[in-house]
Protein backbone atom coordinates (compact mmCIF):
# COMPACT_ATOMS: atom_id res chain seq x y z
CA UNK A 1 0.00 0.00 0.00
CA UNK A 2 1.21 3.46 -0.72
CA UNK A 3 1.92 6.22 1.66
CA UNK A 4 -0.93 8.69 1.83
CA UNK A 5 -1.30 12.20 3.04
CA UNK A 6 -4.17 13.44 5.11
CA UNK A 7 -6.59 15.53 3.18
CA UNK A 8 -9.34 16.95 5.37
CA UNK A 9 -12.52 15.39 4.08
CA UNK A 10 -14.62 17.82 6.06
CA UNK A 11 -16.01 20.25 3.56
CA UNK A 12 -16.98 22.48 6.46
CA UNK A 13 -13.55 22.35 8.04
CA UNK A 14 -12.61 25.94 7.39
CA UNK A 15 -15.95 27.66 7.61
CA UNK A 16 -16.04 27.99 11.39
CA UNK A 17 -13.96 31.15 11.48
CA UNK A 18 -14.19 34.00 13.94
CA UNK A 19 -17.01 35.45 11.87
CA UNK A 20 -19.17 32.66 13.22
CA UNK A 21 -18.59 33.66 16.82
CA UNK A 22 -21.77 35.72 16.71
CA UNK A 23 -23.94 32.83 15.47
CA UNK A 24 -22.29 30.57 18.02
CA UNK A 25 -23.09 33.03 20.79
CA UNK A 26 -26.68 33.29 19.60
CA UNK A 27 -27.02 29.51 19.43
CA UNK A 28 -25.66 29.13 22.96
CA UNK A 29 -27.96 31.88 24.13
CA UNK A 30 -30.94 30.15 22.53
CA UNK A 31 -29.99 26.96 24.30
CA UNK A 32 -29.88 28.68 27.69
CA UNK A 33 -33.33 30.19 27.07
CA UNK A 34 -34.68 26.77 26.04
CA UNK A 35 -33.28 25.36 29.27
CA UNK A 36 -35.08 28.03 31.30
CA UNK A 37 -38.39 27.75 29.47
CA UNK A 38 -38.45 23.95 29.64
CA UNK A 39 -37.92 23.80 33.36
CA UNK A 40 -41.03 25.40 34.81
CA UNK A 41 -40.17 23.97 38.22
CA UNK A 42 -37.13 26.26 38.19
CA UNK A 43 -38.65 29.43 36.75
CA UNK A 44 -42.01 29.47 38.49
CA UNK A 45 -40.46 30.06 41.93
CA UNK A 46 -38.41 32.92 40.46
CA UNK A 47 -41.68 34.52 39.32
CA UNK A 48 -43.93 33.59 42.23
CA UNK A 49 -41.59 34.10 45.17
CA UNK A 50 -40.88 37.83 44.56
CA UNK A 51 -44.60 38.47 44.00
CA UNK A 52 -45.42 36.66 47.21
CA UNK A 53 -42.78 38.69 49.03
CA UNK A 54 -44.17 41.92 47.55
CA UNK A 55 -47.75 41.00 48.52
CA UNK A 56 -46.61 40.14 52.05
CA UNK A 57 -44.75 43.45 52.33
CA UNK A 58 -47.68 45.41 50.97
CA UNK A 59 -50.11 43.89 53.47
CA UNK A 60 -47.73 44.17 56.42
CA UNK A 61 -45.99 47.48 55.82
CA UNK A 62 -48.49 49.54 53.85
CA UNK A 63 -48.96 51.88 56.80
CA UNK A 64 -45.21 52.34 57.01
CA UNK A 65 -45.51 54.51 53.93
CA UNK A 66 -46.90 57.18 56.28
CA UNK A 67 -43.64 57.31 58.28
CA UNK A 68 -41.50 60.44 58.08
CA UNK A 69 -38.76 60.00 55.46
CA UNK A 70 -40.88 57.77 53.31
CA UNK A 71 -41.36 59.07 49.78
CA UNK A 72 -44.88 59.76 48.65
CA UNK A 73 -46.10 56.52 47.12
CA UNK A 74 -49.46 55.14 46.01
CA UNK A 75 -48.74 51.88 47.82
CA UNK A 76 -45.92 49.86 49.33
CA UNK A 77 -46.02 47.77 46.16
CA UNK A 78 -44.72 50.70 44.13
CA UNK A 79 -41.74 50.86 46.48
CA UNK A 80 -40.96 47.13 46.21
CA UNK A 81 -41.26 46.72 42.44
CA UNK A 82 -37.52 47.22 41.98
CA UNK A 83 -36.81 44.72 44.76
CA UNK A 84 -39.12 42.18 43.13
CA UNK A 85 -37.29 42.60 39.84
CA UNK A 86 -33.94 42.04 41.52
CA UNK A 87 -35.15 39.02 43.51
CA UNK A 88 -36.47 37.41 40.35
CA UNK A 89 -33.35 38.16 38.37
CA UNK A 90 -31.11 36.81 41.16
CA UNK A 91 -33.14 33.59 41.11
CA UNK A 92 -32.79 33.38 37.33
CA UNK A 93 -29.07 34.11 37.41
CA UNK A 94 -28.43 31.47 40.05
CA UNK A 95 -30.37 29.01 37.88
CA UNK A 96 -28.28 30.00 34.85
CA UNK A 97 -25.03 29.64 36.79
CA UNK A 98 -26.11 26.26 38.15
CA UNK A 99 -26.97 25.13 34.62
CA UNK A 100 -23.45 26.03 33.48
CA UNK A 101 -22.05 24.03 36.39
CA UNK A 102 -24.30 21.10 35.42
CA UNK A 103 -22.87 21.31 31.88
CA UNK A 104 -19.42 20.95 33.42
CA UNK A 105 -20.52 18.11 35.69
CA UNK A 106 -22.24 16.13 32.95
CA UNK A 107 -19.58 16.62 30.30
CA UNK A 108 -21.65 18.81 27.95
CA UNK A 109 -19.07 21.54 28.51
CA UNK A 110 -16.42 19.12 27.19
CA UNK A 111 -18.55 18.52 24.11
CA UNK A 112 -18.49 22.26 23.48
CA UNK A 113 -14.75 22.45 24.12
CA UNK A 114 -14.08 19.59 21.72
CA UNK A 115 -15.66 21.65 18.94
CA UNK A 116 -14.02 24.64 17.25
CA UNK A 117 -16.33 26.99 19.14
CA UNK A 118 -15.06 30.29 20.40
CA UNK A 119 -14.57 29.72 24.13
CA UNK A 120 -15.88 33.17 24.94
CA UNK A 121 -19.08 32.38 22.98
CA UNK A 122 -19.85 29.59 25.43
CA UNK A 123 -19.79 32.06 28.30
CA UNK A 124 -21.32 35.05 26.55
CA UNK A 125 -24.10 32.87 25.13
CA UNK A 126 -25.01 31.76 28.64
CA UNK A 127 -24.92 35.34 29.95
CA UNK A 128 -26.98 36.61 27.02
CA UNK A 129 -29.63 34.06 27.96
CA UNK A 130 -29.55 35.38 31.53
CA UNK A 131 -29.91 38.94 30.24
CA UNK A 132 -32.90 38.10 28.08
CA UNK A 133 -34.57 36.27 30.94
CA UNK A 134 -33.86 39.28 33.19
CA UNK A 135 -35.66 41.55 30.70
CA UNK A 136 -38.63 39.19 30.59
CA UNK A 137 -38.82 39.01 34.38
CA UNK A 138 -38.60 42.78 34.84
CA UNK A 139 -41.38 43.31 32.32
CA UNK A 140 -43.45 40.54 33.89
CA UNK A 141 -43.25 42.03 37.42
CA UNK A 142 -44.02 45.51 36.14
CA UNK A 143 -47.04 44.39 34.14
CA UNK A 144 -48.36 42.20 36.97
CA UNK A 145 -48.16 45.03 39.52
CA UNK A 146 -49.91 47.63 37.38
CA UNK A 147 -53.40 46.13 37.90
CA UNK A 148 -52.70 46.11 41.67
CA UNK A 149 -52.41 49.86 41.75
CA UNK A 150 -48.78 50.51 40.85
CA UNK A 151 -48.68 53.53 38.62
CA UNK A 152 -45.46 53.78 36.57
CA UNK A 153 -45.19 57.54 36.52
CA UNK A 154 -42.42 57.61 33.95
CA UNK A 155 -44.75 55.87 31.47
CA UNK A 156 -43.71 53.48 28.69
CA UNK A 157 -40.20 54.97 28.57
CA UNK A 158 -39.79 54.12 32.27
CA UNK A 159 -41.10 50.60 31.70
CA UNK A 160 -38.56 50.20 28.89
CA UNK A 161 -35.72 51.35 31.18
CA UNK A 162 -36.85 49.01 33.99
CA UNK A 163 -37.00 46.15 31.48
CA UNK A 164 -33.56 46.95 30.15
CA UNK A 165 -32.24 47.29 33.70
CA UNK A 166 -33.61 43.80 34.42
CA UNK A 167 -31.56 42.49 31.51
CA UNK A 168 -28.41 44.28 32.66
CA UNK A 169 -28.87 43.00 36.21
CA UNK A 170 -29.25 39.48 34.77
CA UNK A 171 -26.02 39.96 32.86
CA UNK A 172 -24.06 41.33 35.81
CA UNK A 173 -25.30 38.92 38.50
CA UNK A 174 -25.08 36.14 35.92
CA UNK A 175 -21.39 37.03 35.53
CA UNK A 176 -20.75 36.30 39.20
CA UNK A 177 -22.70 33.06 39.00
CA UNK A 178 -20.86 31.97 35.85
CA UNK A 179 -17.52 32.76 37.52
CA UNK A 180 -18.58 30.61 40.47
CA UNK A 181 -19.71 27.79 38.18
CA UNK A 182 -16.50 27.85 36.16
CA UNK A 183 -14.34 28.05 39.25
CA UNK A 184 -16.01 25.24 41.17
CA UNK A 185 -17.77 23.17 38.49
CA UNK A 186 -20.41 22.48 41.11
CA UNK A 187 -24.09 23.34 40.83
CA UNK A 188 -24.46 23.05 44.62
CA UNK A 189 -21.74 25.64 45.17
CA UNK A 190 -23.50 28.06 42.81
CA UNK A 191 -26.85 27.54 44.49
CA UNK A 192 -25.17 28.07 47.85
CA UNK A 193 -24.49 31.69 46.90
CA UNK A 194 -28.17 32.56 46.69
CA UNK A 195 -28.70 33.24 50.42
CA UNK A 196 -25.71 35.63 50.41
CA UNK A 197 -27.12 37.60 47.49
CA UNK A 198 -30.55 37.61 49.06
CA UNK A 199 -29.22 38.90 52.38
CA UNK A 200 -27.39 41.69 50.56
CA UNK A 201 -30.80 43.02 49.52
CA UNK A 202 -31.75 43.53 53.16
CA UNK A 203 -28.65 45.67 53.63
CA UNK A 204 -29.90 48.07 51.01
CA UNK A 205 -32.92 50.27 50.42
CA UNK A 206 -34.80 47.41 48.75
CA UNK A 207 -37.73 47.47 51.15
CA UNK A 208 -37.33 50.76 53.03
CA UNK A 209 -35.85 54.11 51.98
CA UNK A 210 -32.42 54.88 53.38
CA UNK A 211 -33.94 57.93 55.10
CA UNK A 212 -35.81 55.61 57.46
CA UNK A 213 -32.67 53.63 58.43
CA UNK A 214 -30.20 54.26 61.24
CA UNK A 215 -26.69 53.37 62.39
CA UNK A 216 -24.54 50.71 60.76
CA UNK A 217 -27.50 49.43 58.79
CA UNK A 218 -27.81 52.80 57.08
CA UNK A 219 -24.06 53.07 56.52
CA UNK A 220 -23.96 49.68 54.78
CA UNK A 221 -27.02 50.62 52.72
CA UNK A 222 -25.30 53.86 51.70
CA UNK A 223 -22.33 51.94 50.32
CA UNK A 224 -24.37 49.11 48.84
CA UNK A 225 -24.63 49.77 45.09
CA UNK A 226 -27.93 47.94 45.09
CA UNK A 227 -29.46 50.81 47.12
CA UNK A 228 -28.69 53.25 44.33
CA UNK A 229 -29.96 50.84 41.71
CA UNK A 230 -33.26 50.44 43.57
CA UNK A 231 -33.59 54.17 44.01
CA UNK A 232 -33.09 54.80 40.31
CA UNK A 233 -35.71 52.25 39.32
CA UNK A 234 -37.99 53.38 42.15
CA UNK A 235 -37.84 56.99 41.03
CA UNK A 236 -38.98 55.91 37.58
CA UNK A 237 -41.98 54.26 39.24
CA UNK A 238 -43.03 56.75 41.90
CA UNK A 239 -41.62 60.10 40.76
CA UNK A 240 -41.58 60.07 36.99
CA UNK A 241 -39.07 60.28 34.19
CA UNK A 242 -35.65 61.68 35.04
CA UNK A 243 -32.31 61.35 33.35
CA UNK A 244 -30.66 60.76 36.71
CA UNK A 245 -32.99 57.85 37.54
CA UNK A 246 -32.40 56.30 34.13
CA UNK A 247 -28.62 56.57 34.52
CA UNK A 248 -28.72 54.98 37.98
CA UNK A 249 -30.93 52.15 36.72
CA UNK A 250 -28.65 51.33 33.81
CA UNK A 251 -25.15 52.36 34.84
CA UNK A 252 -25.06 50.60 38.21
CA UNK A 253 -25.71 47.12 36.74
CA UNK A 254 -23.24 47.97 33.97
CA UNK A 255 -20.70 48.87 36.67
CA UNK A 256 -21.35 45.60 38.50
CA UNK A 257 -21.02 43.78 35.18
CA UNK A 258 -17.65 45.45 34.61
CA UNK A 259 -16.46 43.51 37.65
CA UNK A 260 -18.41 40.27 37.28
CA UNK A 261 -17.91 39.56 33.57
CA UNK A 262 -14.09 39.91 33.67
CA UNK A 263 -14.20 37.65 36.72
CA UNK A 264 -16.16 35.08 34.71
CA UNK A 265 -13.74 35.39 31.78
CA UNK A 266 -10.86 34.92 34.18
CA UNK A 267 -12.52 31.82 35.64
CA UNK A 268 -13.04 30.48 32.11
CA UNK A 269 -9.40 31.10 31.29
CA UNK A 270 -8.29 29.34 34.46
CA UNK A 271 -10.52 26.36 33.72
CA UNK A 272 -9.22 26.08 30.17
CA UNK A 273 -5.66 26.39 31.37
CA UNK A 274 -6.16 23.78 34.06
CA UNK A 275 -7.03 21.05 31.58
Amino acid sequence: MSTGTLTPRAEFAHSAEASHAWSQTMAMSKRSIIAIVRQPALIIPSLIFPLFFAALGASSFNRATQLPGFPKVDSFLALTLAASVLQGVIFGSVTGGAALAVDIETGFFDRLLASPTSRVSILIGRLAGNALFGCIEALFFTLVMIPFGVNIRSGPAGIAVITLAGGLIGLSIGGFMAAMALRTGSAEAVQGVFPLLFVSMFFSSAFFPRETMQGIYRTIANYNPLSHLYEGMRDLVITGWSFDAMLKSLLIPIGIGCVSIPLALLALRRRLRAV
Binding site: M1, T3, T5, R31, R111, A114, P116, V275
Partner: protein, 354 residues
Amino acid sequence: MAVMSGTNSNNDYPIYAEGLMRHFGDVKAVDGVDLQVNAGEVFGFLGPNGAGKSTTVRMLTTLLRPTAGVARVAGFDVVKDADQVRRRIGVALQDAAIDPLMTGHELLALQAVLYGIPKAKVRDRSRELLERVGLTGAADRRVGTYSGGMRRRLDLALSLIHQPTVLFLDEPTTGLDPMSRLALWEEVRRLNAEGTTVLLTTQYLEEADQLADRIAIIDHGKIVRQGEPRELKAQVGAPTLVITVPTGQLDQAREVLRSFGELRPTAEGSLGVGLSAGAEAVPAVVRSLDDAGMQVQHLELNEPSLDDVFAEATGYRLEGAASASGLPQAQGAEGGTGKRGRKRGTNETTGESA
Protein backbone atom coordinates in the same frame (compact mmCIF):
# COMPACT_ATOMS: atom_id res chain seq x y z
CA MET B 1 -11.22 -1.30 4.27
CA ALA B 2 -8.30 0.63 2.90
CA VAL B 3 -5.67 0.92 5.58
CA MET B 4 -2.69 3.09 4.89
CA SER B 5 0.65 1.69 5.88
CA GLY B 6 4.23 1.75 4.75
CA THR B 7 6.76 4.50 5.26
CA ASN B 8 4.57 7.14 6.81
CA SER B 9 5.93 10.35 8.21
CA ASN B 10 4.43 11.50 11.52
CA ASN B 11 2.12 13.90 9.70
CA ASP B 12 0.64 11.13 7.57
CA TYR B 13 -0.80 9.24 10.50
CA PRO B 14 -4.30 10.44 11.38
CA ILE B 15 -3.34 9.77 14.99
CA TYR B 16 0.25 9.87 16.13
CA ALA B 17 1.61 10.04 19.66
CA GLU B 18 5.09 9.75 21.01
CA GLY B 19 5.95 9.58 24.69
CA LEU B 20 2.57 10.99 25.60
CA MET B 21 2.23 11.53 29.34
CA ARG B 22 -0.31 13.00 31.69
CA HIS B 23 0.33 13.14 35.38
CA PHE B 24 -2.15 14.23 38.03
CA GLY B 25 0.10 15.04 40.97
CA ASP B 26 1.90 11.80 41.76
CA VAL B 27 -0.49 9.68 39.71
CA LYS B 28 0.84 8.82 36.27
CA ALA B 29 -2.46 8.35 34.44
CA VAL B 30 -0.73 8.09 31.06
CA ASP B 31 2.93 7.26 31.19
CA GLY B 32 4.64 7.41 27.81
CA VAL B 33 2.14 6.24 25.23
CA ASP B 34 3.30 5.78 21.62
CA LEU B 35 0.63 5.40 18.95
CA GLN B 36 0.59 5.31 15.17
CA VAL B 37 -2.91 4.83 13.81
CA ASN B 38 -3.11 4.37 10.05
CA ALA B 39 -5.62 6.12 7.81
CA GLY B 40 -8.84 4.17 7.36
CA GLU B 41 -8.15 1.96 10.35
CA VAL B 42 -10.30 1.08 13.35
CA PHE B 43 -7.91 1.15 16.24
CA GLY B 44 -9.02 -0.40 19.52
CA PHE B 45 -7.70 0.92 22.78
CA LEU B 46 -8.31 -1.81 25.30
CA GLY B 47 -7.92 -1.69 29.04
CA PRO B 48 -9.76 -1.78 32.34
CA ASN B 49 -11.13 1.26 34.17
CA GLY B 50 -8.37 3.56 35.26
CA ALA B 51 -5.84 2.19 32.76
CA GLY B 52 -5.47 5.57 31.02
CA LYS B 53 -7.69 5.09 27.96
CA SER B 54 -9.95 8.08 28.50
CA THR B 55 -7.09 10.32 29.60
CA THR B 56 -5.27 9.48 26.36
CA VAL B 57 -8.40 10.21 24.34
CA ARG B 58 -8.90 13.51 26.17
CA MET B 59 -5.37 14.55 25.25
CA LEU B 60 -5.80 13.49 21.62
CA THR B 61 -9.08 15.41 21.40
CA THR B 62 -7.51 18.60 22.85
CA LEU B 63 -9.52 18.42 26.07
CA LEU B 64 -6.48 17.82 28.23
CA ARG B 65 -2.93 19.11 27.88
CA PRO B 66 -0.22 16.46 27.92
CA THR B 67 2.31 16.72 30.73
CA ALA B 68 4.94 15.61 28.22
CA GLY B 69 5.23 14.06 24.80
CA VAL B 70 3.92 14.87 21.36
CA ALA B 71 0.58 14.08 19.75
CA ARG B 72 -0.67 14.91 16.28
CA VAL B 73 -4.18 14.29 15.07
CA ALA B 74 -5.21 14.72 11.44
CA GLY B 75 -1.75 16.11 10.86
CA PHE B 76 -1.94 18.85 13.51
CA ASP B 77 -0.34 19.16 16.91
CA VAL B 78 -2.97 18.76 19.64
CA VAL B 79 -1.49 21.60 21.71
CA LYS B 80 -0.19 24.10 19.16
CA ASP B 81 -2.92 23.64 16.54
CA ALA B 82 -5.77 22.55 18.80
CA ASP B 83 -8.39 24.45 16.80
CA GLN B 84 -7.35 22.77 13.54
CA VAL B 85 -7.56 19.39 15.26
CA ARG B 86 -11.06 20.16 16.59
CA ARG B 87 -12.31 20.98 13.09
CA ARG B 88 -11.27 17.59 11.79
CA ILE B 89 -12.26 15.22 14.56
CA GLY B 90 -15.53 13.82 15.80
CA VAL B 91 -15.73 12.99 19.49
CA ALA B 92 -18.21 10.87 21.40
CA LEU B 93 -17.06 10.86 24.99
CA GLN B 94 -17.62 8.20 27.61
CA ASP B 95 -20.91 9.36 29.07
CA ALA B 96 -23.05 10.60 26.19
CA ALA B 97 -23.21 14.17 27.50
CA ILE B 98 -26.33 15.40 25.81
CA ASP B 99 -28.61 18.13 27.07
CA PRO B 100 -31.78 16.28 28.12
CA LEU B 101 -33.93 19.38 27.68
CA MET B 102 -33.23 19.72 23.98
CA THR B 103 -34.57 17.63 21.12
CA GLY B 104 -32.41 15.61 18.78
CA HIS B 105 -33.06 18.13 16.02
CA GLU B 106 -32.16 21.09 18.19
CA LEU B 107 -28.92 19.49 19.34
CA LEU B 108 -27.87 18.72 15.79
CA ALA B 109 -28.65 22.29 14.79
CA LEU B 110 -26.59 23.60 17.72
CA GLN B 111 -23.70 21.30 16.86
CA ALA B 112 -23.90 22.47 13.24
CA VAL B 113 -23.56 26.10 14.32
CA LEU B 114 -20.60 25.24 16.55
CA TYR B 115 -18.83 23.73 13.54
CA GLY B 116 -19.75 26.61 11.26
CA ILE B 117 -21.87 24.55 8.90
CA PRO B 118 -23.82 26.82 6.54
CA LYS B 119 -27.49 27.12 7.51
CA ALA B 120 -28.64 25.90 4.12
CA LYS B 121 -26.91 22.56 4.67
CA VAL B 122 -27.96 21.97 8.26
CA ARG B 123 -31.43 20.62 7.55
CA ASP B 124 -30.28 18.05 4.99
CA ARG B 125 -27.28 17.01 7.03
CA SER B 126 -29.41 16.58 10.19
CA ARG B 127 -32.02 14.57 8.33
CA GLU B 128 -29.36 12.36 6.81
CA LEU B 129 -27.68 11.71 10.16
CA LEU B 130 -30.93 11.08 12.03
CA GLU B 131 -31.92 8.59 9.39
CA ARG B 132 -28.53 6.98 9.55
CA VAL B 133 -28.71 6.39 13.31
CA GLY B 134 -32.39 5.46 13.21
CA LEU B 135 -33.69 8.43 15.16
CA THR B 136 -35.85 10.15 12.56
CA GLY B 137 -39.03 9.36 14.47
CA ALA B 138 -37.60 10.64 17.76
CA ALA B 139 -35.93 13.75 16.36
CA ASP B 140 -38.46 16.15 17.84
CA ARG B 141 -38.60 14.49 21.22
CA ARG B 142 -36.58 15.79 24.14
CA VAL B 143 -33.41 13.78 24.69
CA GLY B 144 -34.47 13.24 28.30
CA THR B 145 -37.05 10.76 27.00
CA TYR B 146 -34.46 8.74 25.00
CA SER B 147 -33.16 5.34 26.07
CA GLY B 148 -29.43 4.84 26.68
CA GLY B 149 -29.00 3.34 23.23
CA MET B 150 -30.81 6.21 21.55
CA ARG B 151 -28.62 8.72 23.38
CA ARG B 152 -25.49 6.93 22.21
CA ARG B 153 -26.74 6.94 18.65
CA LEU B 154 -27.55 10.62 18.84
CA ASP B 155 -24.14 11.21 20.36
CA LEU B 156 -22.62 9.48 17.35
CA ALA B 157 -24.75 11.56 14.96
CA LEU B 158 -23.60 14.74 16.72
CA SER B 159 -19.99 13.74 16.37
CA LEU B 160 -20.47 13.22 12.63
CA ILE B 161 -22.22 16.48 11.78
CA HIS B 162 -19.11 18.00 10.18
CA GLN B 163 -17.96 14.80 8.43
CA PRO B 164 -14.81 14.30 10.48
CA THR B 165 -11.81 12.47 9.09
CA VAL B 166 -10.96 11.00 12.48
CA LEU B 167 -13.54 9.75 14.95
CA PHE B 168 -12.89 9.14 18.64
CA LEU B 169 -15.34 6.88 20.43
CA ASP B 170 -14.71 6.57 24.15
CA GLU B 171 -16.38 3.40 25.42
CA PRO B 172 -19.30 3.87 23.05
CA THR B 173 -21.22 0.78 24.13
CA THR B 174 -20.69 0.79 27.88
CA GLY B 175 -24.02 0.20 29.56
CA LEU B 176 -25.88 -0.62 26.35
CA ASP B 177 -28.10 -3.64 25.80
CA PRO B 178 -26.84 -6.25 23.29
CA MET B 179 -29.10 -5.03 20.47
CA SER B 180 -27.95 -1.44 20.82
CA ARG B 181 -24.34 -2.57 20.95
CA LEU B 182 -24.69 -4.54 17.73
CA ALA B 183 -26.38 -1.57 16.04
CA LEU B 184 -23.55 0.71 17.10
CA TRP B 185 -20.90 -1.76 15.94
CA GLU B 186 -22.61 -1.90 12.58
CA GLU B 187 -22.51 1.87 12.32
CA VAL B 188 -18.83 1.99 13.23
CA ARG B 189 -18.11 -0.57 10.49
CA ARG B 190 -20.11 1.47 8.01
CA LEU B 191 -18.28 4.68 8.89
CA ASN B 192 -14.96 2.93 8.62
CA ALA B 193 -15.90 1.46 5.24
CA GLU B 194 -16.54 5.03 4.10
CA GLY B 195 -12.97 5.92 5.02
CA THR B 196 -13.24 7.36 8.52
CA THR B 197 -10.37 6.52 10.81
CA VAL B 198 -11.75 5.41 14.18
CA LEU B 199 -10.07 5.23 17.55
CA LEU B 200 -12.27 3.28 19.87
CA THR B 201 -11.64 2.72 23.55
CA THR B 202 -13.28 -0.22 25.17
CA GLN B 203 -13.06 -2.52 28.11
CA TYR B 204 -14.94 -5.21 26.21
CA LEU B 205 -12.65 -7.80 24.65
CA GLU B 206 -15.27 -8.93 22.20
CA GLU B 207 -15.82 -5.38 20.99
CA ALA B 208 -12.12 -4.89 20.32
CA ASP B 209 -11.92 -8.27 18.60
CA GLN B 210 -14.98 -7.59 16.45
CA LEU B 211 -14.24 -4.04 15.38
CA ALA B 212 -10.56 -3.27 15.55
CA ASP B 213 -8.02 -3.78 12.78
CA ARG B 214 -5.34 -3.28 15.39
CA ILE B 215 -5.49 -2.94 19.14
CA ALA B 216 -3.34 -1.52 21.89
CA ILE B 217 -3.64 -2.89 25.41
CA ILE B 218 -3.05 -0.21 28.00
CA ASP B 219 -2.36 -0.89 31.65
CA HIS B 220 -1.21 1.49 34.36
CA GLY B 221 -0.86 4.22 31.72
CA LYS B 222 1.49 2.22 29.50
CA ILE B 223 0.84 0.31 26.32
CA VAL B 224 1.79 -3.28 27.05
CA ARG B 225 0.82 -4.89 23.74
CA GLN B 226 0.02 -3.51 20.31
CA GLY B 227 -0.87 -5.21 17.03
CA GLU B 228 -3.53 -7.02 15.06
CA PRO B 229 -5.77 -9.17 17.29
CA ARG B 230 -4.89 -12.28 15.28
CA GLU B 231 -1.17 -11.67 15.65
CA LEU B 232 -1.45 -10.99 19.34
CA LYS B 233 -3.44 -14.16 19.92
CA ALA B 234 -0.89 -16.14 17.92
CA GLN B 235 1.87 -14.76 20.15
CA VAL B 236 0.17 -16.25 23.19
CA GLY B 237 0.46 -19.59 21.41
CA ALA B 238 -0.73 -22.46 23.50
CA PRO B 239 -4.42 -22.99 24.22
CA THR B 240 -5.58 -22.60 27.80
CA LEU B 241 -6.99 -25.54 29.70
CA VAL B 242 -9.25 -24.38 32.50
CA ILE B 243 -10.24 -26.81 35.21
CA THR B 244 -12.33 -26.57 38.34
CA VAL B 245 -11.57 -28.81 41.32
CA PRO B 246 -12.86 -28.69 44.93
CA THR B 247 -11.36 -25.74 46.81
CA GLY B 248 -9.33 -27.98 49.09
CA GLN B 249 -7.55 -29.56 46.10
CA LEU B 250 -6.52 -26.34 44.35
CA ASP B 251 -2.90 -26.28 45.56
CA GLN B 252 -2.33 -29.93 44.68
CA ALA B 253 -3.95 -29.48 41.25
CA ARG B 254 -1.78 -26.44 40.60
CA GLU B 255 1.33 -28.55 41.12
CA VAL B 256 0.06 -31.17 38.69
CA LEU B 257 -0.78 -28.58 36.03
CA ARG B 258 2.60 -26.88 36.25
CA SER B 259 4.19 -29.87 34.53
CA PHE B 260 2.08 -29.24 31.40
CA GLY B 261 2.87 -25.57 30.89
CA GLU B 262 2.75 -22.18 32.55
CA LEU B 263 -0.18 -21.32 34.78
CA ARG B 264 -2.48 -18.65 33.47
CA PRO B 265 -4.84 -16.34 35.33
CA THR B 266 -8.45 -17.47 35.44
CA ALA B 267 -11.59 -16.66 37.36
CA GLU B 268 -11.48 -17.33 41.07
CA GLY B 269 -12.03 -20.97 42.00
CA SER B 270 -10.56 -22.40 38.82
CA LEU B 271 -7.10 -23.01 37.44
CA GLY B 272 -5.72 -22.38 33.98
CA VAL B 273 -2.67 -23.74 32.23
CA GLY B 274 -1.23 -22.94 28.83
CA LEU B 275 -0.73 -26.35 27.27
CA SER B 276 2.72 -26.16 25.72
CA ALA B 277 2.10 -29.43 23.86
CA GLY B 278 -1.20 -28.18 22.51
CA ALA B 279 -4.69 -29.68 22.75
CA GLU B 280 -3.24 -33.18 22.43
CA ALA B 281 -2.04 -32.94 26.01
CA VAL B 282 -5.56 -32.83 27.46
CA PRO B 283 -5.93 -36.61 28.00
CA ALA B 284 -2.55 -36.67 29.74
CA VAL B 285 -3.58 -33.82 32.03
CA VAL B 286 -6.82 -35.60 32.93
CA ARG B 287 -4.97 -38.82 33.64
CA SER B 288 -2.42 -37.04 35.84
CA LEU B 289 -5.13 -35.33 37.82
CA ASP B 290 -6.97 -38.62 38.17
CA ASP B 291 -3.80 -40.40 39.30
CA ALA B 292 -3.28 -37.72 41.93
CA GLY B 293 -6.81 -38.36 43.25
CA MET B 294 -8.18 -35.03 42.03
CA GLN B 295 -11.87 -34.71 41.44
CA VAL B 296 -12.23 -32.60 38.26
CA GLN B 297 -15.60 -30.84 38.38
CA HIS B 298 -15.31 -28.88 35.16
CA LEU B 299 -12.88 -28.78 32.27
CA GLU B 300 -12.71 -26.57 29.19
CA LEU B 301 -10.16 -25.90 26.50
CA ASN B 302 -9.95 -22.33 25.20
CA GLU B 303 -8.14 -21.27 22.10
CA PRO B 304 -6.03 -18.14 22.74
CA SER B 305 -8.26 -15.11 23.08
CA LEU B 306 -7.68 -11.43 23.62
CA ASP B 307 -8.31 -12.13 27.28
CA ASP B 308 -5.32 -14.46 27.21
CA VAL B 309 -3.30 -11.77 25.47
CA PHE B 310 -4.41 -9.31 28.12
CA ALA B 311 -3.65 -11.75 30.92
CA GLU B 312 -0.23 -12.53 29.55
CA ALA B 313 0.58 -8.85 29.16
CA THR B 314 -0.73 -7.65 32.50
CA GLY B 315 -0.79 -10.65 34.81
CA TYR B 316 -4.52 -10.52 35.37
CA ARG B 317 -7.68 -10.96 33.35
CA LEU B 318 -9.90 -8.17 32.17
CA GLU B 319 -12.95 -10.33 32.76
CA GLY B 320 -13.42 -11.02 36.48
CA ALA B 321 -10.97 -10.72 39.33
CA ALA B 322 -7.53 -12.23 39.67
CA SER B 323 -7.26 -15.93 39.53
CA ALA B 324 -6.76 -18.54 42.14
CA SER B 325 -3.47 -19.37 40.49
CA GLY B 326 -1.71 -16.84 42.63
CA LEU B 327 -1.33 -14.11 40.02
CA PRO B 328 -1.61 -10.53 41.30
CA GLN B 329 -4.85 -8.69 41.88
CA ALA B 330 -5.74 -5.88 39.54
CA GLN B 331 -5.01 -2.38 40.84
CA GLY B 332 -6.06 1.04 39.59
CA ALA B 333 -3.66 3.73 38.51
CA GLU B 334 -5.80 6.55 37.13
CA GLY B 335 -7.04 8.35 40.19
CA GLY B 336 -6.04 5.36 42.27
CA THR B 337 -9.55 3.99 42.43
CA GLY B 338 -8.50 0.38 42.27
CA LYS B 339 -11.51 -0.76 40.28
CA ARG B 340 -9.65 -3.11 38.00
CA GLY B 341 -11.03 -6.34 36.74
CA ARG B 342 -14.64 -5.24 36.96
CA LYS B 343 -16.82 -3.82 34.28
CA ARG B 344 -18.19 -0.41 35.05
CA GLY B 345 -21.90 0.17 35.25
CA THR B 346 -23.01 -2.53 32.87
CA ASN B 347 -25.23 -5.52 32.91
CA GLU B 348 -23.54 -7.15 30.00
CA THR B 349 -21.08 -10.00 29.92
CA THR B 350 -18.81 -10.29 26.96
CA GLY B 351 -16.35 -12.96 28.00
CA GLU B 352 -14.35 -14.62 25.29
CA SER B 353 -13.89 -18.02 26.86
CA ALA B 354 -15.30 -20.81 24.80
